[in-house]
């Protein structure tokens, strides 16, 4: 009795369809990987650019603060010097030393002139945002420091956001490469399924498991 010849083409179409699905999946994933890489590179560039801008802004603010604070310190020193000389002149006058008192009063006037000019030039007195609210009050240093820190802080916030975006997209790009490797394994298994008759379904099943795993992983990465 003749035995029927084994059908070597069984499930071959299924394997072909699976190979086609895997190819399209891999091609799409390759596109996603390239896109994630581009986004990571751009975010990395932005992160470096903002870091540079923040650093430059800090240098500028350093120059400005040094100027503002030196002017303010000299102005305060001149004001106090003028007051001390005026008090001393009064004491000397009280003690009958009128000539010394007159000389000291003149010195006091010179210090006062310096202090008044300093007040007119200093941001801490001329700018209404920081100027003292009362005649003998102190300038609003808190407001000054808050304003000084605002622009570098904004830049650092942008830099941090760009840096976070870089890590996010770089992680995605890396994961896509790992998934592409899984798909390469699936390709290998499908190739074995194509050539093997007895183990065709086992190899094809293994490839399907790997492709499913890759699809779930891809979905998770895209949502994350």
């Amino acid at each position: 009795m003749n035995e029927p010849a084994p059908n070597t083409d069984r499930f071959r179409t299924l394997v072909l369809v699976l190979t086609l699905i895997n190819t399209i999946f891999a091609a799409t994933l390759f596109g996603l990987q390239v896109d994630a890489n581009i986004r990571a590179n751009n975010a990395n560039r932005d992160s470096q650019y903002y870091a540079l801008l923040a650093s430059n802004e800090l240098v500028r603010l350093g120059q400005q603060s040094a100027y503002d604070l030196e002017l303010f310190a000299n102005t305060v020193k001149d004001t106090q010097q003028s007051l001390v000389m005026e008090f001393t002149a009064l004491e000397l006058e009280k003690n009958g030393n009128k000539d010394s008192a007159v000389r000291l009063r003149s010195q006091s006037e010179i210090s006062k002139a310096r202090s008044e000019k300093g007040v007119s030039l200093s941001l801490f007195y001329a700018d209404p945002r920081y100027a003292p609210k009362e005649p003998d009050g102190m300038p609003d240093f808190q407001a000054y420091l808050a304003d000084q820190g605002k622009s570098p802080n904004d830049l650092v916030a942008k830099q941090n956001a760009a840096s976070d975006a870089y890590h996010k997209w770089n992680g995605k790009a890396d994961a896509y490469v790992a998934i592409l490797t899984l798909l390469a394994i699936a390709f290998f298994l499908l190739g074995l399924a194509q050539s093997s008759v007895r183990m065709r379904l086992v190899f094809a099943g293994s490839a399907v498991v790997i492709m499913t795993l890759a699809a779930v992983w891809t979905g998770y990465i895209m949502i994350a």
Binding site: T23, N56, A66, I110, L121
Partner: protein
């Protein structure tokens, strides 16, 4: 040539093999071009960062110079006020000191504060110095540095990156067509013709897509490859 002759398996084998060679070559060229575009994007980004560094260094130097002038200008203004106070003093020694200050010290201080402390255009109505205006003038004194625009390089990089994305899609289409042609080569019968037709269609679609992306991108960049 009859239909039968055209579908002769041996002839088909050779024809598909030639097609596979052509598509492989096109795919390789497309992959090369996509990588070139990616490299151009990276170069433009790198240039933008270099420009940002150069511009930042120049600006830092300009700010340093402006505040240095401002320091000298304020000291000159304060010492001038002190000399004025000495002038109106009843003390003759102070008047004499004021005269000498004006003759020897103040001119030197004024020289150091130039031009912020000496030019009218830098004096605000409230008597303060226009530091921003002086900075803007210093910047305009170096037009080559003023012309540096990192954002222009970043914009160019974004254009290349966008092109790279779409070229990747085109390359993927070409690779898929290669897959179909491969199937056509190993198969026989009716499925073979179907796979061959699909392979050629995807190849032509990929090629057309690739060319359209290239033309649109090059025109968008003003003719720059």
């Amino acid at each position: 040539m009859t239909e039968k002759q055209r579908l002769d398996p041996a002839r088909m084998d050779v024809m598909i093999a030639i097609l596979i060679a052509l598509v492989s070559l096109t795919t390789a060229l497309a992959a090369w071009r996509t990588n070139v575009v990616g490299s151009r994007a990276a170069d433009a980004n790198r240039q933008g960062l270099i420009d940002a560094l150069k511009k930042g260094a120049a600006q830092n130097e300009d700010w340093r110079k402006v505040y240095e002038e401002a320091g000298y200008a304020s000291r000159f203004a304060i010492e001038s006020a002190a000399a004025d106070a000495m002038d109106v003093s009843k003390d003759e020694t102070l008047k004499a000191a004021a005269k000498n200050l004006r003759q020897y010290l103040l001119p030197s201080m004024q020289l150091l504060s130039e031009p912020l402390g000496t030019q009218e255009k830098y004096l605000k109505s409230d008597g303060n110095f226009d530091i921003e205006k002086r900075f803007a003038d210093l910047e305009s004194e170096a037009p080559d540095l003023l012309a540096i625009d990192p954002q222009a390089s970043f914009k160019l990089a974004d254009q290349y990156s966008s092109e790279q994305r779409w070229l990747t899609v085109g390359t993927v289409l070409l690779a898929i067509s290669l897959f179909w042609l491969g199937l056509a080569e190993i198969q026989s019968g009716r499925g073979r013709t179907g796979n061959l037709t699909l392979g050629i269609a995807v190849y032509l679609l990929g090629l057309l897509f690739f060319l359209i992306v290239e033309v649109v991108s090059i025109v968008g960049r003003g003719g720059v490859l």
